[in-house]
Symmetry: C2
Subunit: 411 residues, 2 copies
């Protein structure tokens, strides 16, 4: 049984992960939080202690770490005897942290694809550009590496697998829908790292349609949905990590991702993008200073974790699955509703961080219990969904299923 | 008689100034263009030669100069034997260039107030913060320094003085109106240095109303006008240099400035301002780099001089003057219409640069001829307006006067 967790990162999601690990430290053992800025790790540790989140008496410690530095990461894994690493740092560090895990035998969990700072929207499928290249190495080393174990990617992958396994004979399409109907009261803010948030939308929109990659522009295709709790919601076709693994692992011809956006977000985004301020490529000022515009935009925007205290409202994220069961057309929506204020009261973060962080801890607990300790690299849809969704139901992210007039918790 | 001109700056306005000086080099003598980036000066020289703008055989040369460096500027004035310096560089260099003129005895001309890079919208009247502090030194040294000799400030100050002198017994109000009804075909661009352009609108809006400074916010007060040629035009109350000197020099209780803006400009400006991207104060990126957001915005926007080839349409800038003449209420609009395409064909710049640059050359010619060689510091409204407006009529910026149904050239 693996235990002792090293959390990489110190943003809003890391805060959630630390609290949830603490709430389950009887299973997970010692908790270590590491990032470039050790003060931010210390704040997380202080918050866990203040909220008395540790279930049983145990260790929680802050560390300074440059996670791009494989040797330093290996050394910290060694020093803390961490057998599970939850990487919720910037997506630029995935490959270096994964290397450190492979070389030390620690299990690896992340919540988003690796990215190269200077490349946006690489070739499909995205996982093949970086993570999957190390699949053989994981297998050889017997290292469990679970990719994309947040909400989306993550829980929505498990929803997809559940639908394919238990609810359909044939699935024709999966539409993943992510709507944040919350309100933070600021002029403009992103719900997680602005740099990463904007990068999602500045490239091409790649989706899997009729077993082929189809390319659109951002905000080109709009679809309005009538969703549980949050009601009528405008969304736009968006490229997203999980389409890239689901299209490989599930026999489903059409997999799309729809992100909810209000007109104000689109206006601000459009202005910034058209001006060139969302570019990840350095430019030169008149004074000769080299600057990456996107990093400047990030610096002027509110820190997403600062939004939490005032955040109200709910998120609705789920999979609309269409197909055939027992010779009849079927359509179900598997989803979760999360509440910003409730998340803040429990772990000091807003709902978006909550939905991303809790599943990573559930994955860690399933590695600790052995159920997901598969000793190779896997995306979430390659793993049994039931234990994951059952556990999530117990630790804060219950699943519901709507079919026609019928809307009830996952049995 | 003073001659030989040193032009400081190499942007769109400097391009106009160089061409107009060349067209009048029988009066002005040698022409020297100096800026930090000597390549840009060389391009201007090449353009003057290509268009064969030199009226008589003569010198036109490019120089590298950091105009913040008083000693270097003095040395260049000495080397070129320039007796007139036309400063159309960044407004950050006004005071250093003025110092160099005072110490070498050269006449000084600029087209906008001095600015401190780190201060926006200082106390009123703005000229008192920097330029007017050196008035005594100019007088002592017998140096002619003409402040704000572009179009606005500049020509509109002469319009105001003309109205007070020749058209009214009492002036109650002057509304300076600046509308650019041209189109550059880009998503967004400013018509001159974006840094300077935005700085105009990010501070408080100060206007002179009933002999007091009144403060508003930008885009708070809108006024639509029906103007000659350009027609119905939405404008907004704006702070502007000339209000600060006119309120001191003319006995007029209300002096306001109205700048024309379209909804798209206001939207882009509002987004950038609300996000903090128009700030002149340095911020720190997550990587620890110190950056001034406004300089990054400037770097991603089109170079204003690059707009010229595609610019079409016209500008209308003028003074709406109300008051009493011979016991009766009177209202006149003194104005100029400039054409972007025509400006480009003549001097390779768009209309905004043209209207700013030509008056500075007219001022230089009046210094050369002695009519404006007043051997002290003066704002344009302190000088006789007729020779200036007559000369402008001959070199490309004719004045018209509209009164009721009557609209005719300045007699």
């Amino acid at each position: 049984m693996k235990k002792n967790v090293l959390i990489i990162g110190a943003g809003g999601v890391a805060q959630v992960v630390a609290h949830k690990c603490a709430q389950n430290n009887d299973v997970l053992g010692d908790i270590h939080v590491a990032s470039r800025t050790v003060e931010k790790c210390r704040e997380i540790v202080a918050s866990v202690q203040e909220k008395k989140s540790l279930k049983v008496k145990g260790v929680i410690e802050a560390h300074a770490l440059d996670a791009m530095d494989v040797a330093a990461t290996k050394a910290l894994i060694g020093r803390t005897d961490a057998r599970i690493v939850i990487n919720v740092g910037s997506p630029f560090v995935n490959m270096s942290v994964l290397s450190a895990c492979i070389e030390t035998g620690a299990a690896y969990i992340d919540t988003a694809i690796h990215e190269d700072p200077l490349k946006i929207c690489e070739n499909a499928p995205w996982y093949a550009n970086y993570e999957w290249k190390r699949q053989e190495d994981c297998k050889k080393a017997g290292v469990t590496a679970i990719l994309g174990a947040g909400f989306d990617p993550g829980v929505v992958n498990a929803y997809a697998k559940l639908a394919v396994d238990d609810y359909f004979d044939r699935v024709d399409s999966i539409d993943i829908i992510d709507v944040n109907a919350g309100s933070h009261g600021r002029y403009f803010a992103t719900n997680f790292d602005p740099e990463i948030n904007f990068r999602e939308f500045t490239g091409r929109v790649m989706t899997w349609q009729d077993r082929e990659w189809k390319t659109n522009k951002m905000f080109e295709v709009r679809q309005d949905w009538d969703l549980p709790v949050v009601g009528k919601s405008p969304t736009y076709l968006t490229g997203h990590d999980e389409i890239h693994s689901l299209s490989r692992h599930l026999d489903v011809p059409t997999i799309r991702f729809w992100m909810g956006f209000g007109d104000h977000y689109i206006n601000v985004f459009t202005v910034l993008k058209n001006l060139g301020l969302l570019s990840e490529q350095p430019i030169k000022t008149a004074e000769g200073q080299e600057v990456v515009p996107l990093k400047v935009v990030k610096a002027v925007l509110p820190d997403p974790s600062s939004l939490a205290p005032d955040y109200t409202g709910k998120t609705c994220i789920g999979d609309l699955v269409k197909g055939v069961k027992d010779g009849k057309q079927r359509e179900i929506f598997i989803y979760n509703i999360a509440d910003h204020k409730q998340a803040y009261e429990e772990v000091g973060s807003q709902g978006i961080s909550y939905t991303a962080g809790v599943p990573a801890v559930a994955a860690a607990m399933l590695i600790a219990s052995g159920e997901w300790d598969v000793k190779t690299m896997a995306n979430v849809e390659e793993l049994p969904p039931r234990p994951f969704l059952d556990l999530l139901g117990r630790i804060g992210l219950p699943t519901r299923i709507r079919e026609g007039e019928n809307d009830q918790p996952l049995a």
